[in-house]
């Protein structure tokens, strides 16, 4: 078979070989539990603490504000549930947006079932929230604003610093799901006045099953996973040392290459977008044209359906997705596409291609060429398309 063209880096990424090399010794060699007292475990412990420092530095945070978790979903759940519980006395109202990841939305629903109230902000046709609506939604009893840094489907980047400012002015905590943004665009928790931030290892060429939650010092939320005294008593469970090492190694590489990756991917992204728009009729770009993740290409192709497109792409050796990986299996159209106003049958024909800096122009050319054929073929079968 020809070399695979992997364009689903928003679903998950390859662990970089150099990241894996760093992780390796911590499986079979330095396997000690960082909580143990003997020397042998100090290597693990030191490595965990160095990882914490590196990640903190990247965000302009303090090491003791970084808490390792089992992934982005856990971080999101923790931020929401624990803030709700800890600050229930202050109020029970949370503001979020309609296009959050399910790790936020379903946790909000869970909190609603426990008596909390949630306001889901609208987004415009580009996926941007309206800061005025945000301000108007703030109430006496609002305790948390949770708005994602960048959307996992359509790539739109929210005005995080502005949201942070509004939250700060109203003395409300601001959490951002940065799972798609961390390591992909610059984030500074001070400048952007972020109080909590979720991130995940496997979206930045680190390992799966590891993530972190940044918690600003003045946010005194309780634990979500209760038990041992790891992570200063806030997150129980034996440290996943190789995972933490891999997360930090990947973050470091991402940090070092941030600018060049952004430049390179943006160019590739815009090249793909312009070829698709010029060569495939009835193709509608989703998300904001410039306020978007450098690696995100998302289109709705009218008159056809996503899965068929994906299977045919797959047969051509191309990995893409039709929305978020973790909702595949669901038949509902993407809540994100509905929120930006796409009608049901248009939302159906969605395709997301997400780059890494390893992708090339040649790959993009091949993909667009294939795509043209595939879409033509599927449209010829479609009862909705009359040529």
């Amino acid at each position: 078979m020809e070399k695979l063209i992997y364009l689903d880096n928003a679903a998950t990424t390859q662990v970089y070989p150099e990241v894996f090399e760093e992780m390796k010794p911590y499986f079979t060699e330095y396997y000690g539990n960082p909580s143990s007292v003997y020397q042998f475990a100090q290597e693990s412990k030191n490595k965990v603490e160095r990882a914490r420092e590196e990640i903190a530095e990247m965000l302009n945070a303090k090491p003791e504000e970084i808490y390792f978790t089992g992934g982005g979903s856990e971080s999101d759940n923790w931020a929401l549930v624990a803030t709700a519980e800890t600050y229930a006395k202050k109020g029970k109202h949370i503001i979020t947006s309609k296009i959050e990841h399910h790790a936020i939305l379903h946790t909000c629903e869970y909190l609603e079932s426990r008596g909390y109230e949630v306001t889901y902000l609208d987004v415009d046709e580009n996926g941007l929230i309206d800061l005025e609506q945000l301000k108007k939604s703030i109430r006496e009893d609002t305790i948390l604003i949770s708005i994602m840094s960048a959307n996992n489907e359509i790539g739109t980047i929210q005005p995080i610093a502005e949201i942070g400012k509004i939250a700060k002015e109203h003395e409300i905590f601001f959490h951002t799901d940065a799972v798609q943004a961390f390591g992909h665009i610059p984030i500074d928790v001070e400048e952007m006045r972020i109080d909590m931030l979720s991130a995940s290892g496997h979206k930045i060429h680190g390992p799966k099953g590891i993530g972190f939650l940044y918690i600003r010092k003045n946010v005194r939320i309780g634990a979500f996973i209760h038990g041992g005294s790891q992570e200063r008593g806030k997150r129980a469970g034996t440290h996943n040392v190789p995972g933490i090492v891999g997360l930090a190694a990947a973050a470091k590489i991402a940090k070092e290459n941030l600018e060049s990756n952004i430049k390179y991917e943006t160019k590739l992204r815009d090249y793909a977008i312009s070829r698709i728009e010029n060569e495939i009729p009835f193709a509608v770009l989703s998300g904001h044209r410039t306020k978007r993740l450098p690696n995100n290409i998302h289109f709705c192709f009218r008159f056809i359906e996503g899965e068929s497109m994906l299977i045919l792409l797959d047969q051509a050796g191309i990995c893409g997705s039709s929305g978020s990986a973790c909702t595949s299996g669901s038949l509902d159209p993407s809540h994100v596409l509905l929120a930006i106003g796409r009608p049901h049958e248009i939302a159906h024909g969605s395709l997301r291609l997400t780059l890494s800096e390893k992708n090339t122009k040649e790959e993009i050319d091949k993909v667009v060429d294939e795509l043209k054929k595939i879409i033509e073929r599927l449209r010829s079968m479609s009862p909705l398309y009359e040529d």
């Binding site: 899965e307 038949l331 049958e345 009862p383």
Partner: protein, 143 residues
């Protein structure tokens, strides 16, 4: 996730297209996923289905079941065609994943809708055929 037979019918769908002046045509939509299937039948004076064609806006399973359904009804009498249920289509395709069972219902309903149209046009009653439940308006966008 799909069987080889499904992939075969998806990759090489049989009977894609339209029939001009069909004996019956039916379009059904699947409320569950929003997918749409249109089935055309050419039925001769003896009530035998001479030709069947389809157009489908839907997932891989929808395309494969459309294809298989048209194959199965061809050459059958109207009465026999009624027995081409979604189960029969799935069996002929060596099964479908659980989340895709509903797609095969689309095929069954499309056959029924086309037969209903045929019956109506000819003023006859096909025993056992009920009015299709989910014949939906064509949603072809004018644009």
């Amino acid at each position: 996730m799909y069987s080889e037979k499904v992939m075969d019918h998806f990759n090489h769908p049989r009977n894609v297209g339209e029939i001009e002046d069909p004996s019956g045509v039916g379009t059904v939509g699947n409320a569950k996923c929003g997918d749409i299937m249109r089935m055309y039948l050419d039925i001769d004076d003896n009530g035998i289905i001479q030709e069947a064609k389809f157009k489908t806006f839907g997932c891989g399973a929808a395309i494969a079941t459309s294809s298989m359904a048209t194959e199965l009804v061809k050459g059958k009498t109207v009465q026999e065609a009624l027995e081409v249920t979604n189960k029969a289509v799935m069996e002929a395709l060596d099964g479908l994943p659980p989340v895709k069972v509903h797609c095969s219902l689309l095929a069954e309903e499309a056959i029924h809708a086309a037969l209903w149209d045929y019956a109506k046009k000819n003023g006859i009653v096909i025993e056992g055929l009920k009015e299709p439940v989910s014949d939906i308006e064509e949603r072809v966008d004018a644009e």
